[in-house]
């Protein structure tokens, strides 16, 4: 990658900052707008919104998942008559899962924002996606298993159960967002203050040329980032739970310190960064991911519940259970793919931001804090019913 020297970098960075700030606003506004378009099914006034997008890729996805979903009942009936038809059902469940996750649902939105806010590794994103999707399937199976199969509860009772779970799930999302905003917002403000010190401004020198990519950048930037580095450590100690997600910029330095090995820098830049065992299993590693998994995976997919109840009525509950888990697998693949896009988009943005000295870092911190805001926004909209990602129809 060849990087041209930039003269008068600061206005450019200011421009970038404005963009980042706008970006955060747009995200929140976008979520709001989408929400209003969805209307308020709980008595809130509904906007004169048109039907869902019917054209383009999204329209195709919606059409596909509806088409797959429509085939469930006939395939379950077929499986009742002939056991081998269950394989067709399982195949359909997988496809439905893949397409379904590309459509509505807050899961991937929250996970992706969480990934952006935390500068999580790709590996963790995949683990998060799979764990939350499987939990989602499990909740559906347990709910229908207990409510319908054991207690013979009515559809209305199950709807109330889902409504309760929904409230819990959305509240958790808000909590996660608030916690992230507290951590990331403080880091952002600290970075902002650091940048206004003369020393930091002096360090705002852009590297001239680096034919060999990022390794070179690292060394250039170790110095420029010194201030943030010190602050990161301060925070890490103040708040142990968050130590590990101070990856942005601080990441490289953290690792260097853990390993006492500067060659590690190359892998510390987000790309080609395999999940390291200590990150996944280390203190707070699983624990902090767990909250996101639970928040996202708690609310079962309405479609899965309907399929399970229908299978139960046909005397094929266990076929329905397998089908639900396969659906979850398909969902996980899509969510993991989207989370991957989010992670790589961010590390790509970071690569450019990093060449811009401390201001670039500020932008990254801003994006992280913005992503935390987006999570809160999603949670609030979902909780207040202004955004409906799925409706358990109580007709």
């Amino acid at each position: 990658m060849s990087v041209k020297p930039v003269v008068g970098g600061r206005p450019v960075v200011h421009f970038a900052l404005v963009i980042a700030a706008l970006a955060g606003l747009m995200l929140v506004a976008g979520a709001l707008d989408a929400a209003l378009a969805q209307g308020g099914p709980f008595g809130a006034p509904r906007a004169q919104a048109p039907a869902p997008p019917m054209g383009g890729v999204l329209g195709w996805i919606f059409a596909k998942q509806a088409e797959f979903y429509r085939q469930f009942s006939s395939l379950i009936r077929a499986a009742k008559a002939d056991g081998s038809a269950a394989w067709g059902l399982f195949g359909l469940s997988f496809l439905y899962g893949v397409f379904h996750a590309a459509g509505p649902g807050h899961g991937k939105a929250v996970i992706s924002s969480y990934m952006v806010a935390n500068e999580e590794t790709w590996g963790r994103g995949v683990v998060l996606s799979f764990a939350s999707a499987l939990l989602q399937a499990l909740v559906a199976v347990v709910l229908v298993g207990i409510a319908a199969a054991l207690l013979n509860a009515t559809a209305a009772t199950m709807k109330r159960a889902v409504d309760l779970i929904e409230i819990l799930s959305y509240s958790l999302i808000i909590l996660i967002g608030v916690r992230l905003l507290w951590v990331k917002g403080r880091v952002f403000l600290t970075t902002l203050r650091t940048l206004h010190r003369p020393a930091a401004v002096g360090a705002a020198v852009t590297p001239a040329h680096s034919p060999h990519g990022h390794g070179h950048h690292d060394h250039q930037h170790d110095h420029a980032h010194d201030h943030a580095h010190a602050h990161d450590h301060g925070h890490a100690h103040a708040d142990h739970d968050h130590d590990h997600h101070q990856h942005c910029d601080g990441h490289a330095h953290d690792h260097a310190h853990h390993h006492h090995d500067h060659d590690d820098h190359a892998s510390a830049w987000g790309h080609a960064h395999a999940p390291e065992p200590e990150e996944l299993a280390g203190p707070g590693g699983w624990k902090r991911g767990l909250s996101a998994i639970v928040a996202v995976g708690l609310r079962p997919c309405s479609g899965a519940i309907l399929v399970l109840v229908f299978a139960l009525a046909q005397g094929l509950f266990w076929t329905g259970v397998v089908s639900t888990f396969i659906m979850g697998l398909g969902t996980a693949i899509t969510v993991a793919a989207i989370a991957t896009i989010a992670v790589f988009a961010k590390s790509w943005a970071k690569r450019f931001a990093d060449t811009r000295s401390g201001y670039g870092m500020l932008v990254m911190r801003g994006i992280e804090a913005g992503a935390a805001l987006v999570i809160i926004g999603f949670g609030v909209l979902l909780l207040t019913g202004y955004m409906v990602s799925e409706r358990m129809v109580g007709l």
Binding site: F42, A109, A313, A349, A353, S389
Partner: protein, 218 residues
């Protein structure tokens, strides 16, 4: 360089937009609609009589946990509590029924008593029968009736056979049914130029794709 940086910020945004912006759903309920427009002897429209048949998966779901004397069969009386739930829930959504006469919107009252659910054992589907009376009967030269869910959680479509009947209408009234149409290339392009969350007030996609009944009584 600036552009590339902006591009990168944009990439993050696009990622977020894909994930968050597409807050739309696919339906979990399919309803086949048969409707009747009811006319008074003086030629004014008094209300709409609906017969909505739910798809089998939703029907079976709705019947979950419901007691019946004969297994697999449900009488109207046994289904009465469910019909109450249906009608009460539908109120929140204005019964998904939108009518216009002579260019103005028509208002409906809540359904009259006497709504009920029927269960078709052979096809294991439920059908909900209910009548929506107009607040004020209207004599209309041009009347349109649409049945659709703006949020598309419920997919409505008119029955293939006899989707609409006019009951007691003046002889000169002519009925036509517009079904959801394929999206034209022009509209498709117009939509693609909108951002994921933008709305163009000149586009009424929901109505465009709805099931529409038109009655002309010259």
């Amino acid at each position: 360089m600036i552009y590339r940086f902006c591009l990168s910020v944009l990439a993050v945004l696009v990622g977020a937009a894909i994930t968050g912006g597409a807050a739309s759903a696919h339906p979990h309920v399919w309803i086949t609609v048969k409707s009747e427009l009811v006319y008074a002897p003086d030629g004014s429209v008094t209300g709409v009589r609906h017969a909505w048949t739910f798809d089998d998966m939703f029907s079976v779901f709705a019947l979950q946990g419901l007691d019946s004397k004969k297994k697999g069969e449900y009488t109207r009386e046994e289904l009465a509590p469910l019909a109450d739930v249906n009608v009460t829930s539908l109120k929140e959504y204005d019964f998904f029924t939108y009518a216009k006469a002579n260019g103005g919107k028509l208002e409906f009252n809540d359904p009259q008593a006497g709504y009920y659910l029927d269960y078709n054992t052979k096809e294991s589907v439920l059908t909900l029968f209910f009548t929506l009376p107009l607040k004020a009967p209207v004599k209309a030269k041009d009347l349109s009736l649409e049945v659709y869910d703006r949020e598309y959680f419920v997919d409505f479509s008119f029955a293939e056979k006899d989707p609409v009947k006019l009951v007691g209408a003046p002889a000169q009234c002519k009925l036509s049914v517009a079904r959801p149409q394929e999206m034209g290339a022009a509209l498709s392009q117009q939509l693609s130029q909108l951002g994921p969350n933008q709305r163009d007030p000149s586009l009424t996609v929901g109505a465009e794709f709805a099931n529409k009944i038109l009655v002309k009584c010259p």
